[in-house]
Symmetry: C2
Subunit: 445 residues, 2 copies
């Protein structure tokens, strides 16, 4: 049994004070507000939240941070650096890079990551001797970084969707593609996740997977009771291409293939029609917004207000890791909505924090995490209220975290009952040093 004493903690939507928390076997056993600090309790100073869920990640994109802004950062400078990184990944250097990236996430209060994994094979497209070697590297990376993972193994069959239909994968894309849907399904059936890991499915996008194989992935997810994610309508071009080929929107195509349901998450969902929104609501599906990446790539601003009004849960992802800070992602949902509507107040701070906690966990297939409740997995993220950013922010620490805190304000992180970040430091390794070494090694000759 481990015992913590929180100055303030968010329990069932309410900030409670002097909360005594007992943890056993990685789960909350007893939660008692208004307690005296027990002598064996470790004090958590600041405000303590449930663990944050990063519902959309491509771990290797961390290597691109600030390197894709050259020549004013056109789309092409981004793509060039992204493909260069993708080409050079090996199981060894990917393990190292992902471990450091997940370490940065842990330091930002992220206790579970949804890794949308598509760099599967060798540089020429042929499988490794162990066809899951890359995916297994990601599972190990998460263990070593101290966080949970949902490995969303991604079906990718085509290099794009042009005027003549689906194109063959080329260049780095050959690493992404399985021979067909069955090979993909057989491969991921061989993955054997531990208790703190889940395997989910992903459809890369309607550009990379045709309707027949969207159905294959959907069947796999259904028969494995697994979450399924897909990139949906991130940019207008995808909608145009889908209309040109299939005469419908990406959401409609996924609906026709039977993909939309409670286990489904539409990632980005930036350019939706009202009919798309109705389909997602009826499913009922999740959406995962990635606002700092959507800013970086110039995707546009998704309809967060409309989604929330329709009762569609919104999860959040740091996606390309231009920024790893779920407080920044959560406030960006509201702030970017304000920029478009020229009106304050689409989402309150509590709603924004639920996007980063419970909605993210559900999107990633974790029913037993995302809130501080007896029986739930014991994840605790403590945010300092005495930094220059958070000081003086008043009586609503949820608003303080969402609107004023940044990742460096995360003081401690506990995942499944184990202390992973203590006094702003990762207990396992030097995260910044490992990031530097892994990225330099990957990208610089």
């Amino acid at each position: 049994m481990t015992r913590y004493h929180c100055d303030q903690a968010l329990i069932r939507g309410t900030i409670e004070r002097d909360v005594d928390i007992e943890i056993g076997a990685g789960r909350f056993r007893r939660i008692t507000p208004d307690s005296q600090p027990a002598s064996d309790a470790r004090r958590l100073r600041g405000v303590t939240f449930p663990g944050l869920a990063n519902a959309h990640s491509h771990a290797f994109h961390r290597a691109l941070r600030s390197r894709t802004q050259a020549e004013r950062g056109s789309f092409w400078t981004w793509r060039e650096v992204m493909y260069r990184a993708a080409e050079r990944l090996t199981p060894d250097n990917y393990l190292r890079l992902a471990r450091a990236t997940f370490g940065e996430m842990a330091m930002a209060g992220i206790t579970v990551v949804g890794e949308f994994h598509y760099v599967h094979h060798q540089a020429d497209g042929s499988p490794y001797a162990n066809a899951n070697e890359m995916g297994e590297a990601l599972l190990v990376a998460a263990v070593e970084a101290g966080i949970r993972i949902t490995l969303l193994d991604t079906l990718y069959l085509h290099g794009g969707l042009g005027p003549d239909g689906y194109q063959a994968p080329k260049g780095a894309q050959r690493r992404y593609a399985d021979a067909d849907g069955d090979s993909w399904a057989q491969r991921i059936d061989d993955l054997s996740p531990a208790d703190h890991q889940r395997i989910g499915a992903a459809i890369h996008s309607v550009r990379a997977v045709d309707p027949e194989h969207i159905a294959t992935a959907t069947e796999w997810a259904a028969s494995n009771a697994a979450p399924m994610h897909a990139h949906v309508s991130e940019q207008r071009t995808e909608n145009d291409q889908c209309q040109a080929t299939h005469g419908c929107t990406p959401t409609e195509l996924l609906h026709a293939a039977g993909s939309l349901g409670p286990n489904f998450t539409a990632v980005h969902a930036t350019h939706l029609t009202p009919a798309d929104l109705d389909l997602l609501r009826a499913a009922p599906a999740h959406v995962c917004m990635c606002p700092t990446t959507e800013r970086d790539l110039g995707d546009g601003v998704g309809p967060s207000h409309g989604l929330a009004a329709a009762g569609i849960p919104i999860a959040l992802g740091s996606d390309s890791h231009a920024v790893v800070d779920l407080f920044e992602e959560s406030r960006a949902v509201e702030l970017d909505e304000r920029l478009m509507s020229e009106k304050r107040g689409a989402h309150d701070a509590g709603e924004l924090l639920r996007m980063a906690t419970v909605a993210g966990h559900r999107s990633l297939g974790w029913a037993d995490a995302g809130s501080i409740d007896v029986g739930q997995r014991a994840d605790l993220v403590t945010v300092a209220l005495d930094s220059v950013r958070t000081a003086g922010s008043g009586r609503d620490p949820v608003a303080t975290a969402v609107f004023a805190a940044t990742a460096p304000d995360v003081r401690s992180v506990i995942v499944d009952g184990r202390l992973v970040v203590d006094d702003h430091r990762h207990v396992g390794f030097d995260v910044a040093g490992e990031l530097d070494a892994a990225i330099t090694d990957l990208l610089e000759d």
Copy 2:
């Protein structure tokens, strides 16, 4: 003579390595790249930039941070908290709050602030015995925080612009208003700035100052060779009100009063017409954008690409201090442009950093600061390249700072040759503790 050795420093637009810098009497005396570290030189690890200029600040708004987001943070919750704070300010508590706020700025690498100062008088509108007591408190606050200041003393005569023309100031607005333009000019003539301080003029807005008195302020600024700022077209309502009363845009009204010129800065300039843009270019005037405040207040996204293409220098301000981080402001200019245009690459990292450095200094009337050059004021801001945010970001440390760094990555700050922030700590006082004490004291009963 003080001597520093920079790992990397930005000199005339180029990153130089192993730069030896000699400082005397607060100015750069010698700058020598590719040097061996002298035995008496203090090493600055990371990348060193010129000082950052925060060209638009209302210091007391720091008290509002994250307190204005209640009930989904409507415009009215913002205004209610803002007026409550404005009503409770005294010379003593304002000194304390501003000192702490400027301390937070120093820690973020800000070496000069443009304080758009309008809370002049007692609660009933009558002047203090010393009519400049509030402004002098701000000057002292900047000295104690270790940064330079341009006090933009603000002419405010009317409470707003309605269907029946200008309205009388009411409530907290009585604290802002001088009796007339001449009283304002006489009052600010009595301010006697030190070497590290400037006095400038501000016109609150076309809502608060009529054309005759816009001309008064313009004359004062011209005869004092002082900078002059005005809030311009932050929200569409102001444009509508100005059109209804004067039949022209705010920029056109300021132009007609002779205000537009090289010493003029249009703050926000969010909703400009093409004709407004031509007038600002011809002046030639500055614009000061405040992207994180414009996000918070739902103002919209200003035409940064058009301004830059017209050669209009853009300065940056943290304004309401929802965030104090000029790296975030500078990248937000580009990122919000991307959201609107759905295209990457309007401004490169070097241009964005110049907004936060040289453009800000010029806007605030400092010709002798904003670059690391012999004879300039010796301001040096060193950003860590080994934090989890900046690690691995590659060979372009300007892109790293602008696109990946946040305020807590500022390792050291030197202003006019004096060390103000050392190893992430303000050398003068506990900034977070002072913020908490000052704000709690001001707002909580």
